[in-house]
Amino acid sequence: MSYLLNTQEDEIQMLKSIGIKNIEDLFAHIPESVRMKRLLDIPAPMSEMELTRHVGRLAASNLNADNAVCFLGGGSYDHFIPAVVDTISGRSEFYTAYTPYQAEASQGSLQAFFEFQTLIAQLSGMDISNASLYEAGSALGEAILMAMSLTGRSAKVLVADTVHPEYKLSFSTFLANLEPKIETVASKNGKVCLKDLESKLDEGTCCFIIQHPNFFGNLEDVDEIARLVHSKGALFVSTYDPISLGILKTPGDYGCDIAVAEGQCLGNPMNFGGPYLGLLSCREEFVRKIPGRLVGQTVDRNGKRCWVLTLQTREQHIRREKATSNICTNQGLFALRAAVYLAALGPKGLQETAELCFRKAHFAAELLCKIPGVTLKFNQPFFKEFTLELPCPASHIIHSLADDGFLAGLDLARWFDGMKNSILIAVTEKRTRSEIERFAAAFAAAVENSKSKGKNASYKS
């Protein structure tokens, strides 16, 4: 198998034109000592028919949101993806183009990204957005760099311990060799402890990072937090759930300075973790510190409106080590998908989606809490995700529900010792009443079962 075009006859003519005898001569200047004397150890080639069969078999072996009912969230969600999103992102001219360096030959993508920037700014209630970053975790890293250079403070970064653990791990690694130390603000009953925040905020603090709704599903006291953070001249960085903005107020509404989000939920498949879509929007005055690509409007020679990549003096290919970020390839196609998704939903669609998530999540929570020994871990307002305390290890429930065809939720013991019996459950607009009811029934059975098991044998999960 190969995708080559040139045949042996072509090869001969081409070598002649080049003035060499055989293909090996092309590599003559590579030191003999480091040239490979054998073939790579890679399995034999496969025709399309064989590959299709092989991959089909592997795919069939994975539980997924189509062959199972998904209540698993924690930053990646099974929202419905309208067919139009796939149709449009499937246009060759969009997905087989490179970054739009040649504006004249890229107006399609440039306009689409300009629309994306506008949509994200509108959605988040901020002034401006960039053209995408990798995903939420690294985007928070970029936001912190931004905050440092904006505030000139580099001593301390504060983060709520209700932020997604993987986000925290990501930006901590990101900052590992830079000045600021990262301090965690404790939580109380599943949300930021304002006292602890107040005590930790100081003149050296460049920013405070929250997630809202937070990792456990709870809503934070965003207004109070904004007040506290700003009172110390720090920047307020909030990580939001784009879908939640169908009913919740925007980061802009509550005084956020840099808004970050995971855009997967906007028409992008869960893809076992990627590609995803890092969203970053902020105040207009931060424009020259913003990381990543920016598309700007201008006019051509004839005064016709058009779009170009702009403010590139921020970027690595011009600024090199002084760039605001090292990002080059970003998430173009997924930004396009998110734009199509938001345009397809429109204001009413987003609101209805958010309301369905909200109502179904609360319906599910009520049903599940009817199970003896199962309670909401925090009594806080939540949106589409909530944490349950179980009378048994979450891992038991998750394993046994997998056999029943459910992706049951997230075992919090993965990151939090002492949360062995806590499970995080997400409910999207896709879940029907009957799915939720079947889920609750299977859940109850699993709890029963595990408790009884628990009595005699006390095996490790």
Binding site: A59, E104, Y167, V308, A343, G346
Partner: protein, 484 residues
């Protein structure tokens, strides 16, 4: 057959009350608890999203798409970007439910198929690199650079060595110094010699016991394989430093020579280049890294391991730098890379590089008598021509030529990079173009060279738009539409 219809901005074609995606009635009772949501949390104003019907939405984007050049419609010799053909089977297979709709936090036991692929992918990339450990986590090449440099920093910290400097050739891509800076290193620039390779006289004195990493792109951004590489890596190793290979140009050496074999200790891949992930007009990419044994413990977590209970994600790696992003990685692009490698096999991969280099050298042979190519000896998968003489003689710039090519249905080469060549035009045909295409392209280039300078200054003449005013765009940035 676009005629400027439906390509006003989404916000301009928005019409109050129109709907595209509509949702079902809510099928659950209004829950008690939900009443308890305090209004202080609730949104105030309308978000101002556009209101568009499905038919208009499709027309809008379908027409927009035709304003792009792309691999599927045009030859795209954009140097350093490896714009090769993206096989359609990859799109079909990566869209299977069992691939696209797998949740990243599922129990390992419920996604063995996915883990098997990722485990194999780790091995393939290790083998191709000639290195010992692989992390699939980085989202793109630059992310891979940063990740590897963080690994290096952790390695030196672990060894209690204070090494603060990263040496980078002046021909390097901008992401190299940018990544080094974020990783907390100071960068030291190394000059290129007259051949466009590392200037050893400049390099040697700059190698000190403070040298942490030497970052090299090989073949370099001039498309040349620096045969000093073994000598260089020895020097760096002797000084206790590490060598990083920027793998953006791996398309030239698959199965021919391995970074590990010529002394690199760390490298990144651009799966979206070498292993043909579609570029998506700016991503997504995937930038896995491969490293030498001593660095493996510091790689990000998790890594896929195979046990006799099947595959699982190993998080138990105490020396790991941690994570560089949430979740596993850009799986969707890694899948395409996996499909590609499984399709080609060892022979096929080697042939990719042989023909990538053959095509570049053939194109070079067709134009070298007409264009000035400062460093043509030992050209690999791409080369850099220069318009400096044209500029002097006829005031024709590299940009002019690039823009004029658009009129002929060819995407422009990469212009003004690398910085070490004035009026650079970097051309990378890739292996998925035919001799005929290269012949026509060469003829066109030569024809353009002899066209009237005025014509070129104002090119392109036949596209959606003429040259945009970039200065205005940067001076008075308009980064979003605003309601009047």
């Amino acid at each position: 057959m676009d005629k400027n219809q439906s390509t006003g901005l989404l916000f301009e074609i928005s019409h109050k009350g129109r709907r595209c995606h509509q949702l079902p009635e809510c099928d659950v009772p209004f829950p008690e608890s939900s009443k308890s949501m305090d209004s202080k949390y609730l949104s105030k104003a309308n978000l101002g999203l556009p209101e568009i019907a499905e038919s208009d939405l499709i027309r809008h984007y379908t027409n927009l798409s035709t304003r792009n050049m792309s691999i599927d419609t045009n030859f795209y010799p954009l140097g350093s970007c490896t714009m090769k053909y993206n096989p359609k089977r990859h799109e079909r297979l990566s869209a299977l439910s069992g691939m696209a709709h797998v949740h990243p936090l599922q129990e390992d036991s419920t996604c063995q198929g996915m883990l098997e692929i990722m485990w194999e992918m780790q091995n393939f990339l290790g083998e191709i690199a000639g290195l010992d450990g692989v992390s699939l986590q980085p989202a793109a090449g630059a992310h891979g650079e940063l990740t590897a440099l963080l690994v290096a920093a952790a390695y030196f910290r672990h060894r209690k060595e204070k090494r603060t400097k990263v040496l980078i050739p002046d021909s390097a891509h901008g992401t190299n110094p940018a990544s080094a800076a974020i990783a907390g290193f100071d960068t030291v620039t190394i000059k290129s010699n007259s051949e466009g390779k590392v200037d050893m006289d400049d390099l040697i004195p700059k190698i000190t016991n403070e040298t942490a990493v030497f970052m090299i792109t090989n073949p370099n951004t001039l498309g040349l394989f620096d045969e000093q590489i073994v000598k260089i890596t020895d020097l760096i190793h002797k000084a206790g430093g590490l060598v990083y290979l920027d793998g953006a140009n791996m398309n030239a050496i698959l199965g021919i020579t391995r970074p590990g074999d010529f002394g690199a200790d760390m490298m990144h891949y651009n799966v979206h280049k070498t292993f043909t992930g579609p570029h998506g007009a700016g991503g997504p990419g995937s930038g896995p890294i491969a490293v030498r044994k001593q660095l493996v413990p510091f790689l990000p977590s998790p890594i896929v391991v195979k046990t006799n209970h099947g595959y699982h994600l190993d998080y138990n790696r105490p020396q790991s730098i941690g994570r560089v992003r949430s979740f596993f990685g850009n799986t969707g692009i890694l899948l395409r890379g996996y499909f590609y490698i499984r399709t080609l096999g060892a022979e096929g991969l080697r042939k990719v590089s042989e023909h990538a280099v053959l095509n570049a050298n053939y194109l070079l042979s067709k134009i070298k008598d007409h264009f000035d190519v400062p460093h043509s000896r030992g050209c690999m998968h791409e080369f850099v021509a220069s318009a400096r003489n044209l500029r002097k003689d006829k005031k024709i710039s590299a940009m002019d030529i690039g823009k004029r090519l658009l009129d002929h249905g060819y995407h422009a080469p990469t212009v003004y990079f690398p910085l070490v060549v004035p009026e650079a035009m970097m051309m990378e045909p890739t292996e998925t173009e035919s001799k005929e295409t290269l012949d026509h392209f060469a003829e066109t280039l030569i024809k353009i060279k002899n066209e009237d300078a005025e014509l070129l200054h104002h090119a392109p003449h036949t596209l959606e738009i003429s040259r945009p005013d970039e200065v205005k765009a940067a001076k008075e940035p308009v980064l979003r539409w605003k309601a009047k």
